[in-house]
């Protein structure tokens, strides 16, 4: 049963990107590609050869693989409702964030390995923005730890909804907001980053992988899809009532993931990307909101 979270994660990672694509093309009134388009892309990438830059070396070769394995390792820590995660221990969300940071470290230095100034620029932005996003998650989980008295994903999410406290509603709203916003930062979506922009100067994540091709690029795409699904799973865990039976849980899970994809797709269709120097403000707002959640909990609990 502990495998459930991991399996559902993989399944939703398979579907969300295509779903977002569909939403975007419907919103734009285009016919658009089908829901399976991301998988056709990946299949093509797997079949293709690779081109390496003369400048690059070992780091560029191993970075995409490291990034993907970091994300898979992080996914093992996420529970699915009350069914628990593959591995769970006190403070596992610290490990979760730090192993994601390891993957990011490698994708940043892999961009620098190409010696391209464009990729250096992307690397610098990625490092800055993800650094600013880091505290929000910790503050949110500190607040959750106060509410539940647990310090692991499984512990927090299993205690959270059965604590019988009505104030939890506020907390949940803020939590969903914080998780959703950080997911936009982490998975490089509008308004922080626009994966579909045409000018390298305005990209963050896309510009870091300009030189990747073939197999490596496929790994990078898969990693991004998984990351997206992970945030959906976290949001699902936060809002699902603990005592529901499996069928309902799965229904809620599907709904949450679909809603997540729809929101992300709609934001992407109707909103412009932030000006680059507005991004720090946008990201710090997430931490500020997490602080509010924390203060509310403090006032209510202490």
């Amino acid at each position: 049963m502990r495998l459930l979270g991991f399996l559902f994660l993989i399944v939703s990672a398979l579907l969300i990107p295509g779903f977002i694509l569909r939403i975007k093309s419907i919103a734009a009134g285009r016919k658009g590609p089908g829901i399976w388009q991301p998988y056709r892309d990946i299949a093509i990438l797997f079949a293709k050869g690779q081109v390496f830059s003369n400048t690059t070396g070992l780091i560029f070769q191993i970075a995409p693989a490291i990034n993907l394995s970091c994300i898979i390792a992080a996914a093992m820590l996420l529970p699915f409702g009350r069914y628990g995660s593959l591995i769970s221990f006190d403070g596992d969300f610290v490990y979760f964030l730090y192993i994601l940071a390891l993957g990011r470290f490698f994708s940043i230095i892999s961009a620098l390995d190409t010696g391209s100034s464009f990729e250096g620029m992307g690397a610098s932005r990625e490092a800055l923005f993800s650094m600013l996003a880091e505290p929000a998650f910790f503050i949110l989980f500190a607040a959750l730890a106060i509410v539940t008295g647990h310090t692991s994903f499984s512990g927090i999410f299993s205690e959270y909804t059965i604590s019988g406290d009505h104030n939890i509603l506020i907390m949940t709203l803020i939590g969903v907001f914080v998780l959703f916003q950080s997911s936009l930062v982490e998975t490089c979506r509008v308004p922080v980053d626009d994966p579909k922009t045409h000018l390298e100067l305005t990209m963050i994540h896309e510009v870091m992988i300009l030189d990747n091709s073939g197999f490596d690029k496929a790994l990078i795409h898969i990693a991004t899809y998984l990351k997206q699904a992970m945030y959906g799973l976290l949001i699902y865990n936060l809002i699902t009532p603990f005592k529901l039976n499996l069928v309902f849980q799965i229904i809620i899970f599907v709904l949450v993931q679909a809603l997540y994809a729809i929101t992300a797709g709609l934001i992407e269709s109707f909103r412009a990307r932030n000006k680059m120097n507005r991004n720090p403000k946008f990201i710090l707002t997430i931490s500020a909101v997490a602080w509010i959640a924390f203060v509310i909990i403090l006032i209510l609990k202490k």
Binding site: S69, I72, I99, F105, S116, S117, G120, F141, A145
Partner: protein
Amino acid sequence: MEYKFKYICARIYFIRMQAESILIFIVITLSVLIFFAHQRFKQLITLALLAVIAVITTIWSITVFNDGFNTPVIRHISLSGSGGLILTIDKLSAFFILVINLTCITGLLFAGGYLKHYYTRKKGLNISIHFFAYLFLYISMLLVVMVREGLAFLIAWEIMAIASFLLVIFDAEERQILKTGISYLVQMHIGMFFLLIAFLIVEKDTGMLGFDALKYYFKEGHHLAVFLLFLAGFGIKAGLIPFHTWLPEAHPAAPSHVSGVMSGVMIKMGIYGILRVVFQMQNDLFAAGLIILAISLLSGLFGVMMAILQHDIKKLLAYHSIENIGIIGMGVGIGMLGVSYNNQSMIFLGFGGGILHILNHSLFKSLLFFSSGNVYQASQTRNIELLGGLMKRMPYTSVFFLVGSLAICGLPPLNGFISEYLIYSGMFSNLSGLDFKGSVIVVMAIAGLALIGGLAIFCFTKAFGITFLGEARTKQAEEASERDREMLIPQLIPVIFIAAIGIAPSLFVKPVMDLIAGNLSLLVSGPIVIPENGSLANISLISGFFIVILTAILIFRKLHLRNVPVKKEPTWGCGYGVYNPRMQYTSTSFAYNYNHLAKPVTGTKKDINEIGEEEIFPSERSFATHTGDPVKESIIDKPVEWSWFVLKKLAVMQTGKIQHYILYAFIFMLAALLLTYLKII
């Protein structure tokens, strides 16, 4: 029969003690040999002498750690067998002894390769003084952690300062380095005075000089002021802000093995002192813990924020030492808050994380300094803006630097993560049980530590990426070549430990927890239970999974690449064909966005004269940015300037005429007479 056996045991014990004393005396006497030996053998002699002491002290430490009852090993160092210098080794000392031994031996091994290039350039005497000072720095650090008596402690502390001063000014031909060295020596002595005053105040109340007096002194009443004196004295050595100003200057000036040892272990002596004091405190723990936590958090943030803006690789590492001392201090602070809230998991995880981070930092920081020494020797520059692309020419060095960088950022599956994880767990463990004040403090610390982690990643992606990746930016970087084995093999020692602590943390955390349990008798009333922690085993497990998945993907990738065409081409320049390495992102441009945000703290200044409207044909312009140290500017440079101003005014009195001076003496005597007559003094 049994009586006789006991007698023999005692006899053997006595002989062993005597033998150890004699051995130590022989080592100290033989150290003169360094001056007479041939250049090539100086390092070997130092190594041999150092190894003897290392073996003796390591045996003591292991004895202490194996002892279940926490009895300290006590040794009298004297030739006659009685009296003499008393060494007390409890688990805290033993831990520090092991850290000192490990780092100093790797440092000396590395020095063998590093200094070889100086043998032709430098006089024999210079090299001799250097190794001699190294040996005595080592011995004095050991004494610092083993001596409890105040005067002996301060003497050892002083030897440590002087020996490290001699090591720092190895390149004293350069005026700047000599100046840095002297400024270092002055600041060390300011710290020494704080300690002297603190010890004397304690002595006045208790009649004892030294650490043993503290537990009586702190027993009753409030003694926060004395605690602050100790904190200032030890804080200067440790490099906590605002006492860090010597650190970013002295580390780059010293040769790499010295920076490694100084940053790896010597600054930890300050932490040792703070821990000794903290473990004796019985009142005011909340206030003291809060002060330590706040100063440490600021040190951590400030250190890493400044580090990002440095271009001198060793200065960058030096600022990171401030950051890491901050992380250690946060652990200690959380532990102390745990004591005041009487929560044992907070105590053990806080102190445990802090103390383990001492070991961890000594490993990865010395590794980073050693590998940056390789870079310096290969390219003759420490400025990372002039480097680039070194990974292709110096593969081993760059892998070592990469391992060090990952570890210092606290990333799993390496050792830095374990200690930071323990500190995080300490902070989270009792969040729901804390009161309002406590939770606000702890959550601010959590957010701070998270930010420190993010900033560290920013800094080391920059340092590693700009130095080792991309293309060479200058000729000197292009001509750099890998160093020889003598410089590379010593760096393997910290790498092995870094990986071992990261993968199998339980082995290393358990002794640390025992250490804390042994030191809590004064702080915690009631039974002391080391919290059972299954998390570490789980961390090993998931790190194992990570490594397995990674290997699987890499193998699959390798097989895959055999079947598809693989081409080599220039980097995609977005359509631009005439690419040259100077167009790469530099360290300044990488930090540009960040600098924009951090300017209020770091105070970066620009030097540019703007183009005026009336200038139709603008003349040549230059542009430069400077990053000073705002704290240094405000607490050292400004007061110095101000006192110069005052003293210059006073210099009117200094006329150089003997008549005036006699007049001053006369006025003084007259005043003294008058004042006594009027019964004012």
